[in-house]
């Protein structure tokens, strides 16, 4: 789960990381009032669950409260990677002498949380990593001991020659690790970590991604979810326990299992079609999940044909068949449907479908070809 910068900053602040004050707003008038209260130059920052915010024009400086209002008007009209900007964070502009990068992520290869720190921070850090990897220090943390003092100090001195600044950075890294563990995060990032002309070390940005599997034991973090910042179809799907990602094509796909769902989309493309979505109904299915899946898919006006691809393991194909029958009784389909199912209780499923006027096949390639043909009005192979 993604959380906003202002939410991550609150978590980091609670852990003891020095962060300039700031307030969140959703209208230009509020932004002007906050800027007036803070005084001086402010930064207005889009709060949106997408990377590349700055490059998309979602972060702007404003010298006066009036200017803050004007930039907020523009930012609040932006859409960044298909997500509308509904909130902005207003924070005083800090004077910056240097920008560093500090991040922690779970690394699949090392099977540990790994710190990455670099004195060459800022928005081009990925380029720094690709072209000058020696400018980045990697430090894997043994989860059983946590981040030890000397390890934090070593990273601090990698960033700063000045002992006071190095110690301040070490303290920030200890706090960041605490916040990472305590929140059940899979990523925590400060970019940039700045040194001001007075020599203070401050975090000017904060990012955190929380492991969805941790939300049950962190209700306070789960409560930070901002559904207005997510695509509506994705919210609907998650609330129905489905995994859904909207795409631009016209073949609506309903599949069980993420790997098979991706392979099905690939096959749609292989036969000349375009998938309208990724949708995984998951393992143990029940008819209701299928009803919800069909509701989400048919709400997309681009969908010209629906393709079911179900390989029953834990998923019982008769549950899926019952779901298709129920859903289409409630809301008769306006587009053709192609059903492929095989595996657990296949005979029962086929019987249910046939009795209700559907046809189904057990061959994946045949089904995909047929769905593509129907979606494209018979043009493709």
């Amino acid at each position: 789960m993604n959380i906003h910068e202002y939410q991550a900053k609150e978590i980091f602040r609670d852990a003891g990381i020095p962060i300039p004050p700031g307030e969140v707003a959703s209208t230009p008038a509020e932004v002007e009032a906050i800027a007036r209260k803070l005084g001086g130059t402010v930064v207005v920052k889009a709060q949106v669950h997408a990377g590349g915010r700055g490059k998309a024009g979602g972060v702007k400086l404003a010298k006066t409260p009036e200017e803050a209002r004007q930039v907020a008007e523009k930012i609040l009209k932006l859409t960044i990677k298909d997500l509308p900007v509904l909130k902005v964070l207003v924070t005083p502009a800090a004077e910056i002498a240097s920008e560093a990068y500090v991040g922690i992520i779970v690394d699949r290869t090392r099977k540990k949380a790994v710190f990455m720190v670099s004195a060459a921070g800022g928005i081009d850090i990925e380029e720094v990593a690709a072209k000058t990897p020696e400018k980045i220090m990697y430090h894997p943390v043994d989860a059983r001991y946590g981040l030890l003092d000397f390890e934090a100090q070593r990273m601090g001195f990698f960033l700063y020659k000045d002992a006071k600044q190095a110690r301040a950075a070490a303290k920030i890294m200890k706090a960041l690790y605490q916040a990472f563990i305590k929140s059940g995060a899979s990523l925590a990032e400060i970019n940039p970590l700045v040194v001001t002309p007075k020599g203070e070390v401050l975090a000017l940005d904060a990012k955190m991604v929380v492991d969805d599997n941790e939300l049950d034991r962190h209700p306070e973090i789960a409560a930070l979810r901002d559904e207005s910042a997510e695509a509506p179809s994705e919210v609907m799907a998650r609330n129905a326990n489905l995994t859904f990602i909207k795409l631009d094509g016209n073949v609506g796909c309903v599949v069980n299992g993420a790997g098979l769902a991706m392979a099905t989309m690939d096959l749609v493309k292989f036969y000349g079609g375009e998938p309208a979505n990724f949708l995984d109904i998951g393992g143990s299915s029940n008819p209701e999940k299928v009803v919800n899946a069909l509701r989400i898919i048919t709400s997309d006006p681009n969908v010209k044909a629906i393709l079911f691809n179900i390989f029953g393991g834990i998923t019982r194909t008769d549950d899926v068949a019952n779901g298709i029958v129920q859903a289409t009784k409630l809301n008769p389909l306006k587009v053709p449907i192609v059903i492929r199912l095989t595996g657990t209780n296949e005979e029962i499923a086929m019987k249910i479908l046939t009795e209700n006027g559907f046809t189904a096949s057990s061959d994946m390639d045949e089904a995909v070809k047929k769905a593509v043909k129907l979606a494209t009005g018979g043009k493709a192979a």
Partner: protein, 290 residues
């Protein structure tokens, strides 16, 4: 021959009385797997289906049965502890089916299991099956048949799809292993490739990967450097759109974008066959059989 499990494998089921645990224990027994004990704290002394003795702890189960394998169906918040309990009790091979285990838990579990000298498969995996001998986990037995193909995959139902197509074409399997797609898992592609390379009965290996991470690239490098047996690969997600990735850390750590194209290039570079569609495995495998 087969890898990791065979007809001598004896299995303890952790979470045997739960909904998933009991359903799949019945399926495993039906398939012929030697289920020697179950563990559910508080139900020690009872029997599952009047046959399988239930113990309160894995240590008790091990003292009586000396099993070499355990399979875990406990809920996600208890899975890490269940894995460590099995490793501590001396189980050599631990298969964790449970989906939704927090990754921070796995960061503690992985070194623990390693120190105890056990092998972990999963979590969030379908387990494995050596057709005709034993199955541990949830892979449907009826889609598999014995033969000379080794199968290793990151996904569940996609594995079933490909195994089903192989079986229909008369290409049986030594062992089919689902390693799971979680960020931290016990057994990876390379572990399985190494085991298949050593297994005399395995002639050709099928490997199914997905977009994201660099596991497939590392496996391809291993194939290129070490393997003599032919490997055929597939990557799911060739048409997946780029995500709205948050933060820079993901790109920095892997030095890669984890795209399908990158992984397919790595397969080709390693001299592997590359299946564009699941059905392509059949002809690619047949061409590599001697």
């Amino acid at each position: 021959m087969s890898i990791f499990i065979d007809d001598k494998t004896t299995v303890i089921v952790q979470g045997i009385t739960g909904r998933d645990g009991s359903f799949h224990t019945k399926q495993m027994i039906e398939y012929g797997t030697k289920i020697v004990a179950g563990v559910t704290p508080g139900k020690g002394g009872q029997k599952f289906e009047d046959k399988v003795p239930i113990f309160n702890t894995v240590a008790d189960a091990m003292a009586t049965t000396k099993a070499n394998t355990s399979v875990i169906y406990v809920p996600p918040m208890f899975a890490a502890d269940a894995i460590m309990e099995a490793a501590d009790a001396g189980v050599r091979f631990i298969v964790a089916i449970t989906e939704g285990v927090p990754v921070l838990d796995m960061m503690r579990v992985y070194p623990y299991v390693k120190e105890k000298g056990a092998r972990l498969l999963g979590p969030n995996c379908p387990g494995l099956i050596s057709p005709g001998k034993s199955k541990v986990g949830i892979i449907p037995g009826n889609i598999c048949t014995p033969g000379p193909i080794g199968v290793v995959s990151r996904s569940g139902t996609l594995t079933y799809e490909i195994v089903y197509q192989l079986t229909r074409a008369g290409l049986g399997q030594t062992t089919c292993v689902g390693i799971g797609g979680d960020p931290i898992n016990g057994t990876n592609f390379i572990d399985c490739l190494e085991a298949f390379e050593k297994d005399k009965a395995t002639k050709v290996i099928c490997m199914m990967g997905e977009i994201g991470g660099t596991d497939e690239q590392e496996a391809a490098a291993y194939v290129k450097k070490t393997m003599k047996k032919p490997v055929v690969g597939f990557i799911a997600g060739q048409t997946a759109p780029p995500g709205r990735r948050m933060g820079h850390a993901g790109a920095i750590i892997s030095g890669s974008s984890g795209t399908a194209a990158e992984k397919i290039d790595a397969f080709k570079d390693a001299g592997m066959g590359v299946a564009q569609r699941p059905v392509d495995f059949v002809k690619l495998v047949k061409a590599r059989m001697k």
